[in-house]
Amino acid sequence: MKLITAIIKPFKLDDVREALADAGIQGMTVSETRGFGRQKGHTELYRGAEYVVDFLPKIKIEIAVASEDAERVIETITEIARSGRIGDGKIFVTELERVVRIRTGEVNESAI
């Protein structure tokens, strides 16, 4: 199994979620993060002093999938989350050794 971690722009979340649901992905875990990369932050004013906001709000999506689904999921995300502008984000794929569903104790593929 694979753990797919996608960093995307916040406003794409709903679209990505729906596309994944259409692609048959049942579950995912989402968190708010801040990103730092090629996309530069903007300056803001505070009490007459400018300062740079380096970190931009991003959404991190974590999805555990069976290895054979990984490709499809990556493609879906790449396609839907793409706006073509700098800062669209990244997808990271790592190997998952084990998955457990806490409710039933099922493991691996059947737990996803």
Partner: protein, 444 residues
């Protein structure tokens, strides 16, 4: 004074006092909104505690210290506690215009001023000073320092005797407060996290801007009581008009300060800055406090666009000067002097210097700092220049001899740029707060 007049004046003073009390909430929200999230609870605790302590200490010792029945000598008022007896109905009706409102209402109005003055220190040492040290200082400041100095110039002390004019409370309320604040700031140094290892300053943006905005609105509202109530009586046409004019001026000053600061940010940085706008409004309020009744008074028909004054608070001011008024009247104008401390080597110095000298020092210093503020003080019995506060209209001399002899007058910047700069740079400094906060990620 008839009973109904006395009642109306008392009620008016109490409503205004409630508004000023409300300012404590405004300062609290403003500061809580502007400090970094990690310091929120501490700043909340400081603010609620300082208000409470100021009320208690001024009640327990301060009021009697400041206004003793009879002072021991011109320097030391002697110790007293609690409040005096209130006026009887017979005394009121017999007194003519000498007794105009309840002594309790006067205490109420004074006590909220003490708390307000203490906020100068609070804002300046925000995020820097240990809570209990701060509270200990609050006890001394509100129970001894403030009232003791108050006695010197207002309660019958030696400054009073040599005709020292501190109508606005600039020397007492603010110089002491601001000196303490400055001392604290120097002592405590910059906030941790304010500078990177290589010495660059960091912006430490506030945690909660809706809260800060709310605080500004609360202060704006409370300031109607602060300035409006300083007229002290409202029961005749002249006073009522004055109070109304004070409301109008207070409102316009805040509005002008806000707009000026907003535009200044726009011109300087190319975009709006909410925190600047809030500070601008407060700067406007602080400025107008120096002379709310004369800011914009009335335009005689046919002299449109002159936007100037002709202030004649005649009857009211005159009548008022008769009675024993527990000194609050002298508190009328909060001199925009949050930074006055810079001129002062210590609290003792407050007593040592004559008014005129003091003024010159201040002028020089402030001019140096902003390049625009030129000030002038009328002195007793003389005609003088008028405080404008918002600077939206040009100045004009007005002849007022004998009417409000101790009014402190300030001449303000003449040009639009100056006004803008003043609102932007002086305002925050004056409030004694504002320049000292912020930050996202700092010490765990």
């Amino acid at each position: 004074m008839t009973e109904i007049e006395y009642a109306l004046n008392t009620f008016y003073l109490l409503v205004c006092a409630a508004f000023v009390m409300w300012m404590a909430a405004g300062f609290t929200m403003l500061e809580a909104g502007l400090v970094r999230a990690r310091n929120t609870v501490e700043i909340l605790t400081k603010n609620v505690a300082l208000y409470a302590i100021a009320c208690l200490m001024y009640f327990l010792a301060g009021y009697q210290l400041m206004y003793p029945s009879e002072g021991v000598n011109a320097f030391w008022p002697g110790i007293g506690f609690g409040l005096g007896a209130d006026n009887t109905a017979e005394a009121v009706t017999a007194a003519g215009s000498e007794i105009t409102y309840s002594a309790m209402a006067d205490f109420m109005f004074q006590v909220v001023f003490v708390a307000t003055a203490m906020s100068i220190v609070s804002g300046a040492v925000a995020e820097r000073m240990k809570l209990w040290a701060f509270l200990a200082f609050t006890v001394v400041m509100t129970g001894v320092i403030y009232p003791w100095q108050g006695y010197w110039s207002w309660g019958g002390g030696f400054l009073n005797a040599i005709d020292y004019s501190d109508y606005a409370g600039g020397g007492i309320v603010h110089m002491a407060g601001a000196f303490a604040a400055l001392a604290g700031v120097l002592l405590l140094g910059p906030r941790r996290g304010k500078y990177t290892v290589d010495g660059r300053a960091r912006a430490l943006p506030g945690a909660n801007l809706p809260l800060a905005t709310l605080g500004m609105f609360i202060l704006w509202m409370g300031w109607f009581g602060f300035n409006g109530g300083s007229e002290l009586i409202i029961s005749d046409v002249g006073s009522a008009n004055n109070v109304a004019a004070v409301f109008v001026n207070t409102n316009l000053a805040a509005a002008a300060g806000l707009v000026a600061a907003l535009l200044a940010a726009r011109l300087t940085f190319g975009k709006a800055d909410l925190t600047m706008a809030l500070n601008g409004a407060l700067a406007g309020l602080v400025s107008i406090t120096a002379g709310p009744a004369v800011g914009y008074f009335h335009r005689p028909p046919g002299r449109c666009h002159r936007g100037v004054l002709d202030h004649r608070p005649g009857q009211a001011a005159h009548r008022r000067s008769g009675g024993r008024d527990f000194g609050a009247r002298r508190l009328r104008h909060l001199r925009p002097a949050g930074c006055a401390a810079i001129q002062s080597g210590g609290i003792a110095a407050v007593a040592a210097r004559r008014h005129r000298r003091h003024r010159q020092l201040r002028v020089r210093l402030q001019s140096r700092r902003v390049g625009v503020a030129a000030r002038d003080n009328g002195h007793p019995g003389e005609s003088g220049r008028r405080a404008r506060g918002t600077g939206l209209c040009r100045m004009r001399d007005g002849s007022l001899s004998g009417l409000c002899p101790r009014r402190r007058l300030i001449r303000l910047p003449r040009s639009g740029v100056a006004v803008t700069l003043r609102a932007v740079f002086l305002g925050p400094a004056r409030l004694g707060r504002a320049l000292f906060y912020p930050g996202w990620w700092s010490r765990a």
